[in-house]
């Protein structure tokens, strides 16, 4: 019966086959290769040789990597706050707009930036932060706040906060969509019951919306954790991890080790640990939210 069903749908399966084939070839094979090479000494000067846990011991003594972890923690916390809170506030405001037409227009405006390639946005922020010809410093100068102008990405004190500031006002399109979908899915009778009980908007937000949006928050948190730990593109382009190590993160360290220094085995080990960290954060997040749901 089951075999018969597969045979009847063979065309669909055949259409899916190339996707799985390329997924295997370009996603799973390199990942498995990375896992294997994490336990090897593999340099540009020769082939890969098994070296047990040497790469992991080296990580524990790599002061540049260890320093980069602090930056990563700040970036991760900031990313979670930005992606969980700001889109939620905007989604609530949009949801409560009386004019459906205005809601639609504003929603489109918030989502439109999603079509701009990410790298274009990063380069734009590079122009905004430029200390000499940048928009931010020029704007501060124009309103008489010259004393606040900075080399935002070149100053040790402001480089990491400036990186966190990229994308302001941080209304992520995907998170906004998820929240709006969640708000729309709240049963009307629940809202009506709240209204009968005399719940204010604030009370409704805390007692009805927030508990029922936990699923969306869980999804957004997982995606943000993965994105934050893996992403180094903006740092590579804007700061190169500098000045000094002010914006250096483990993923950038992994990239440098592999593609600038030719330490492929060591880079694979860093990648493996990053994978484990991502997995651990994700599982912890799922468990934490699930436990909170049960308690709620």
């Amino acid at each position: 019966m089951r075999r018969g069903a597969i045979w009847r749908s063979r065309t669909s399966y055949l259409f899916l086959l190339p996707t799985f084939l390329f997924l295997w070839l370009f996603n799973y094979v390199p990942a498995l290769s990375g896992l294997f090479h994490a336990f090897t000494e593999w340099e540009t000067t020769g082939g890969a040789h098994f070296n047990g846990l040497d790469n992991f011991r080296r990580m524990a003594q790599d002061e540049f990597l260890l320093l980069s972890i602090t930056n990563q923690v700040w970036l991760l916390v900031a990313s979670l706050l930005k992606s969980l809170i700001v889109p939620l506030i905007v989604a609530e405001m949009l949801f409560h707009l009386r004019s459906g037409r205005l809601q639609q227009v504003l929603r489109t405006l918030f989502l439109a930036p999603m079509v701009v390639p990410g790298m274009v946005g990063i380069l734009l922020w590079g122009f905004i932060y430029d200390p000499n010809i940048g928009l931010l410093n020029n704007a501060l100068d124009a309103v008489g706040l010259h004393h606040l102008t900075r080399a935002w990405l070149g100053d040790w004190h402001t480089a990491l906060p400036a990186v966190i500031g990229i994308g302001f006002p941080w209304v992520g399109g995907l998170a906004l969509l998820l929240y709006l979908a969640g708000l729309n899915a709240i049963p009307q009778d629940l809202l009506a019951a709240g209204a009968v009980d005399g719940a204010t908007s604030w009370r409704r937000f805390w007692a009805i919306d927030l508990p029922l949006l936990r699923g969306q928050m869980k999804t957004i948190a997982v995606l943000t954790i993965i994105g934050s730990l893996q992403d180094f593109g903006s740092l590579l382009v804007l700061t190169g991890g500098g000045p000094g190590l002010a914006t250096h993160v483990p993923a950038l360290h992994m990239y440098f080790q592999a593609f600038r220094f030719g330490h492929y085995g060591y880079a694979s080990a860093i990648g493996f640990v990053l994978f484990l960290a991502t997995l651990a954060f994700t599982v912890a997040n799922m468990k934490f939210v699930a436990a909170a749901e049960e308690m709620g």
Partner: protein
């Protein structure tokens, strides 16, 4: 019928793929030569030469592939480093080192004395002997120098005239000028200080010419000696350090294993009084750079000079064409007169320091990727064609016509620069040939990156000179085994170590 339609639908992509590859096979009947270059200024000239060559050799197709500078090194390492057939035939070898040592690029030495069929004289006669010698890798000619590039200070002549300043003749006078400029509420020097600048840009150049001058006394330690595989009595036997002459060691052959051994054994150290003074002088100089230089990229720094906000900038000879073009594009009210002065010598030091001599050398350099013997012969023939006086003049003229910058004078005999560009080259001439310049060890990338971290912190005022040099010394010693492994040195200067035959 439905089954037939579905089958056709499934087969369609396959047919397209097969059809596509057959079409490709047809075009591959002509032998291909691929030039993958970042020298986009020569785009037009290279295309003209490629078409001329194809007319002479209809069986060959020449593909000029302009690559972005950003990521070029990584791209080369993945293309050439893996021995891929899709690797280019000719590439800019100054962007990635170490291929020859791994046997991946062609030793051109034996071809140099062959007659060039396009000039009927030996190929070597059209090339610059001094730069061929300078660019040798393990004693072999692997790199063809095409043009010359050097650095000097560009200055806003209008600002200098307004403040009653003449181009400085000493380092100390230049800093006094900088103070006068600052008092006039202008930025004395526009300097990019992002990570790229520390590796391949302005800040890297500054540290290089400083360490080159401050380490001149160490040249006898690293130069080849009798019995070394690369010893040349004519060039080395009578060498004595002469600090009054910036170029006294220009032709001296130094032995890379002696250099690495000197660092390994602490004979050359970074935490000495000499380095201490050199680094303090760089930090004193940095006081006159624009605020936040560590967050400034090359374009942003250039804009400071172009808009008259900064009075001076350290830049390469390639900027002459660019400045000419940009001045033409500016409105009359924004244009200014500009000039160039060479990096002036230090006159106040605890040590005997020779005059600075820049960091320049060959700008565009080409190397050939090793494939089959037939392909090597084909590519060398194309290189002979592109290094004739006629070809070099074509490159210059097409580049000027396209309003693209020229690095500097061509290193191919017989090519002449237009007067509007050539007249500014005085400050760049007879310079270059740095010998012992350090920002990392032997350009080994991990040591360069670590040095960049320390140097950025140092110039940012977050480290003392002693702390910075202590860290730098540690970085250099740690880099020794990696440099030895990368270059496959046996650390015996009497033997030539190369994976390449």
């Amino acid at each position: 019928m439905i089954i037939v339609r579905r089958t056709l639908l499934l087969l369609l992509p396959l047919i397209l793929l097969v059809g596509g590859s057959q079409g490709q096979q047809n075009s591959q009947k002509r032998q291909q030569i691929t030039v993958a270059t970042v020298s986009s200024n020569y785009r037009e000239g290279l295309n003209v030469l490629a078409r001329e060559y194809e007319r002479l050799h209809p069986e060959v197709q020449v593909r000029i592939q302009i690559q972005p500078t950003n990521g070029y090194e990584t791209w080369l390492r993945t293309q050439i480093g893996t021995g891929s057939d899709t690797a280019p035939d000719i590439f800019n070898s100054n962007y990635a080192h170490g291929f020859y040592e791994r046997g991946l690029t062609v030793n051109l030495t034996s071809f140099l004395d062959n007659p060039n069929p396009y000039t009927s004289i030996p190929w070597r006669s059209s090339l610059n002997a001094q730069f061929l010698e300078k660019q040798k890798v393990n004693g072999d000619v692997v790199i063809l120098p095409i043009d010359f590039i050097e650095i000097a200070f560009f200055y806003n002549r209008d600002v200098f005239q307004r403040l009653g300043l003449d181009p400085p003749t000493t380092w100390e006078e230049m800093l006094r000028h900088a103070e006068a400029v600052r008092k006039a509420r202008l930025i004395p020097f526009a300097v990019p200080g992002d990570a790229d600048s520390y590796w391949s840009g302005t800040v890297g150049w500054i540290f290089r010419f400083f360490t080159d001058a401050y380490l001149r006394d160490a040249v006898p330690i690293v130069m080849s000696r009798p019995g070394d595989w690369d010893y040349n009595a004519k060039q080395n036997a009578n060498f004595r350090v002469d600090v009054s002459n910036a170029m006294s060691d220009a032709t001296v052959v130094s032995n890379p294993e002696r250099l690495i051994a000197a660092v390994r054994d602490g004979v050359i150290r970074m935490d000495t009084a000499r380095f201490h003074e050199a680094y303090e002088k760089v930090r004193e100089f940095a006081k006159y750079w624009q605020r936040g230089f560590n967050g400034t990229n090359a374009n942003s720094a250039y804009q400071l000079f172009l808009t008259g906000k900064a009075a001076m900038m350290l830049h390469s000879s390639a900027t002459i064409s660019q400045l000419n073009k940009d001045m033409d594009d500016l409105g009359a009210a924004d244009r200014f007169q500009w000039g160039v002065f060479k990096v002036p010598p230090i006159t106040q030091s605890r040590f005997h320091i020779p005059p600075f001599r820049g960091v320049g050398g060959a700008g565009t350099m080409w190397s050939v990727v090793k494939k089959s013997d037939a392909q090597t012969a084909r590519v060398v023939d194309f290189l002979m064609f592109t290094t004739t006086p006629h070809a070099a003049q074509t490159l210059v003229e097409e580049t000027v016509k396209a309003r693209q910058p020229l690095n500097g004078p061509m290193l191919i005999a017989g090519a002449k620069l237009p007067e509007s560009i050539g007249r500014h080259f005085g400050a760049f001439e007879n310079r270059g040939f740095e010998k012992l310049s350090f920002r990392g060890l032997a350009d080994e990338q991990e040591s360069v990156w670590k040095w960049t971290v320390w140097a950025q912190r140092y110039l940012d005022g977050r480290m003392t000179t002693d702390e910075c040099l202590k860290r730098y010394q540690q970085t250099m010693v740690e880099a020794v085994p990696r440099v030895v492994a990368n270059n496959r040195y046996d650390m015996d200067p009497r033997t030539k170590d190369s994976a390449a035959p």
